[in-house]
Amino acid sequence: MPRLGASFRDPSGFVFTSSGRPYRQVNRVFAEQFEACTSSGLYEGLVAEGLLVAHTREELSLALTPEAHAVLAPAIVPFISYPYEWCFGELKDAALLTLDVQLRALERGFVLRDASAYNVQFVDGRPIFIDTLSFERYEGGKPWIAYRQFCQHFLLPLTLMAKRDVRCGLMLREHLDGIPLDFGAALLPRGSWLDLATLLHVQLHARSQRKHQETDVASTIGTRTMPKRSLISLVESLRAAVSRLDWRPAGTQWAEYVDETNYSDAATTEKHELVRRFVRESNPSSVWDVGANTGVYSRIAREHAELVVSFDVDPAAVERNYRAVRTRNETGILPLLLDVTNPSPAIGWAHRERMSLVERGPADLVMALALVHHLAIGNNVPLDTVAAFFAEVSQALVIEFVAKSDSQVHRLLRNRADVFPSYTKAGFEAAFAEHFTIAECTRVGDADRWLYRMQSRSRMGS
C-alpha cells in the first residue's frame, strides 16, 4: 500500500511512497494555504535554520489521487523513530523545536495547526520538523488549536519523566495522542502544584477539560479573544516550562555497566580493534547496535557506516549517549530506547500508524555485544529464536558470546537453577548456523568471550 498507514487524519494531504521513496501530496482543499505559506518565505526560513525538513516540488503526474494540488519530495529521514523510543533529552529537544517552529510561524502570520510529537524526527543528532503541511494562516484573536496536543504529547510526558519517573515516557506507546491530561495530572507528585507552569498547563488544563466536555466554546468565551501577544506569551511560557524541566541520568542498573565488564584494559583495546575490523569487513551502510549502553561501540561502527542506531533498554544510558551526540555535534548516531525482549510493535489504527522495529529493518549489520547472555539466560529466550530474530532484522552480525564461566553470566545464574544446558559455545554456534554463516570467530583476550562476524544465509548476495 503506497499511502502511509499513519497519514489519513488530515484532509489537506498525505504521505505516500513511490519507488521506495516518500512523497507528500498536497490536496486542492489546502492549495491556498500551502501557496501562501510558500510565498511567505516561512518554509525557506525554517529550512535555512535547520528546523524543517527540506522539500522539492515534483511533477503533479506523480500524484496518487485526483484531488492533488502539488507533490513534494521531502528529504529522506534515514531512520524513523517514535517518541516512546526517545530518551528524556530527545523528547525535550523535540518539544523545544516544536515551540520554536511555532514562534517562527507566528512571526510570519502563520500558526501550527497541530503539535504532534510524530511531526518530529531525528536526523544527524538533531530534531527536525517533518510535517510541511502543519501550517495555516494565523487568524487574529483565536487561541491555539494545538495547545491540548502539545501538552499531551510533550509537556505532560516530560513533567512526569522529570518529576515522577523517567519511565513514564513509555506511556506514550499506549497513548498515541499523548498522555491524557486528567490521567497524567493525577500521577504527578503533590508538590508539582507549586510550579506555576505545571499548575496552569497541566492541572488547571485537566480541570478545564473535565469541566467543559460538553461546552459550546463560542457561547462560553463570548466576546473574549486571545490577542496575538498573549498567544506568543503562552508559547513562550510553554517554552520556559519545558526548558526548566531536567532529568539527570544516574543510579540505574546499566548506566555504569560499560565500566564493569570483565575485560582488562588490553582486552578492551583488543575488542575495540576487533569490532572496528569486523564492521569494516561487513561494509555496512546502516548498523543497529542492540544493547549499545552509552554507545562506545556505536561510535566505532560509525567510522565505517553512514548511520548507527544505538539501542539500549536503560533510559540513563540512552540519555548519556544522546547528550554525547549533542555535545560533540556527532552525526549519524541515533540513540534510542528499546527493550529488545519486547521491541516496539506495529501500533495505531489497523496496526499501520507506527511501524514495528522489524518493519524498519533490516539493517545491513546488527551488533550485539555482551547481549546474548542477557537474552538467553536473563530472559530465557532459546538461542535458536535469538538467532531467528537477528536473521529477521539483519544482513550481517557482529555478535559476542559470553560463556557460563564468565563472572557476568555467573552472576545471572547465582540465585536460580541453571536450566540452560545448551548455553555453550558449541550450542551458540549450532543455533546461529541455521541462519548465518560464521565468517570469523576470535577469542577476546584471555576472557571467556568470543566475537563473531556472521553473514545471513537468506540474505547472502543481496
Binding site: 487561541p143 495547545y147 491540548r148 478545564s208 477539560q209 467543559h212 461546552t215 462560553t220 506569551s233 511560557s237
Partner: protein, 46 residues
Amino acid sequence: MYIDPAAGSLVLQVLIAGVVSALAAMARVRRAVGSFFASLFGRRSS
C-alpha cells in the same frame, strides 16, 4: 481544523491569556535587568 482542540483547552487559553502575558512581561523585565547588571559586571572584569 482537523484535530480536536478540546473545548476546555480553548476556554483555558482565553482565561489565562492575561496571566501568561503578565508573566511574560515580568520575565522580560527580569532578563533586561539581569543583562544590564551582567553587562556592567562584564565591563568591569574585562
